[in-house]
Amino acid sequence: MMKYCKPLLLVLYCFLSVIFNNLYAQNEPVPLSEDNLKCASCHGSKYYSFTNPLTEETNRKRMNPFFIIDTARYVSGVHRSFSCSDCHSYDYNSYPHPSELKLEPKFSCIDCHGGDETFAKYQFDKIEEDVNNSAHRNAFGTQFKCEMCHDLHTYRPVARDEHSKIKHIVVQDNQMCLNCHNDLSKYQVLTDHNKPELLTTHSWLPNQELHFLNVRCIECHTPTDDTIMVSHRILPKDQAVHLCSDCHSTNSILRDKLYKYAAQQSRSDNGYYNSVILNEAYVIGANRNKYLNIISLLFFGAALLGISIHIIFRIIKKK
């Protein structure tokens, strides 16, 4: 009997997780369109094959890793309804791609989203202004584009999805920075400097691993800004947050940053300070329970009172 228990539980677990995952599936992925499949047959995997019309042989070759599109994420990204050739020249349909396409100017976020009322809630123009003032722009000028962080083939504003777990948001957002700050080959596209090792530059932060899984880089590297969801003004390093109590206190900056979306959705308060934060993490100093506070004060008060009375009697009796 016992020996069936484990597999049965496993099946039950799988069943339940399928149901839950479906319940929570937000951005319904759409299958790749016919057109996109054509491009994806080569750009969707590490290898591609084509028939050489001269030799009539079929060659199988490695795809340049930077030209691989993650099709699984493409179909749930914000631009999933696009066909590749909406943004890329139709001439890519032929292979080998015509060489002059290398010079084809590429769209940037602002080309399509700048001043667009439909997307006003994202405040693209304010974002662009922030990016213009960021440490990266100051160092590299317009060479540092939105696309350095946002892969528009896969991007999805996870934080706006109310079903997203904070941990997933943190991982996705940190990946945007780590993609480059942890990858010399990308980093040195911009500069010949040696890349500072993040683990050493942040060694002042204890429990570093835990912190990087629970807070985003931008929590510390951008200013707190009430007027926008995600400030894009990456500050010079000497202005980064290094005070622990900026997060570890009741007026934690996390409320106005990482937890901004959650905080706007729910103003509920079940006795905890920063209860939105508490739902997902326990940040020492930022989470306190009002009732526990009152109870502990009562306990100590009562004990102090008892002790004081006892002392008074001891003094009286001594005389």
């Binding site: 204890p206 206190s249 326990y282 006892h310």
Partner: protein, 205 residues
């Protein structure tokens, strides 16, 4: 009453007690400063608090293990055992002594002997403190120091969160214990007599 000395607190116990007392006081101060810290009025900076708290926590945890081993191999451990039967009555008798009898000059209901160095209230509070509260704080504290050791989620809450709440509650009760411990130790013919005992090892009556 004849004036004789009882050797109640062996040297290892006194060393443990001294280190433990120092660590726990620092732990309480830094713990409060982290939990109720305020950016504008930092009593101790968060970072310093964390450092001191971690250091003292580790020392106190090692001390706790030494205490357990000491109680196990020496016969100090017997003072921490109590029978349930009649417990309530014994506790009540002792409480009544502290509240009334002591002021009337009545004799101690449970005089201190080598075999019975704690009165019933001490016995139960020391046993609860050392076998329930301190282990709870030590284990949850280690969990917070090495979060990868604790389960990720439990009953829909994050493991770290549950551990941290248990840790704070445990810490609260230890503080509460300490406050009463400190006061009760001052009850006697001379308020400082018991404090001297825990330093010299001898109890004088």
């Amino acid at each position: 009453m004849e004036n004789h000395k009882l050797y109640l607190y062996p040297i290892w116990l006194r060393i443990w007690h001294g280190i433990n007392a120092l660590c726990i006081i620092l732990l309480i101060i830094t713990g409060l400063s982290m939990q109720y810290g305020n950016i504008d009025y930092p009593l101790i900076s968060f970072k310093t608090s964390v450092m001191i708290h971690n250091f003292c926590g580790i020392v106190a945890s090692i001390g706790f293990v030494i205490f357990l081993v000491g109680n196990f191999i020496s016969d100090n451990g017997i003072h921490y055992r109590f029978k349930i039967r009649g417990l309530y009555k014994r506790l009540f008798t002792q409480l009544m002594y502290y509240v009334f009898g002591y002021f009337k000059g009545e004799p101690k209901p449970f005089p201190i002997t080598k075999e019975n160095k704690f009165n019933p209230l001490q016995r139960i509070s020391y046993a609860v403190a050392m076998y329930v509260l301190v282990p709870l704080v030590v284990i949850t504290g280690l969990g917070l120091l090495y979060p990868e050791l604790i389960f990720e989620r439990f009953l829909g809450m994050s493991g770290v969160q549950i551990t941290a709440v248990m840790h704070s509650i445990g810490g609260f009760f230890v503080s509460f214990f300490l406050m009463i411990h400190l006061y009760v130790a001052s009850i006697g013919k001379n308020p400082l007599k018991n404090y001297k005992s825990i330093l010299t090892g001898y109890h004088e009556s």
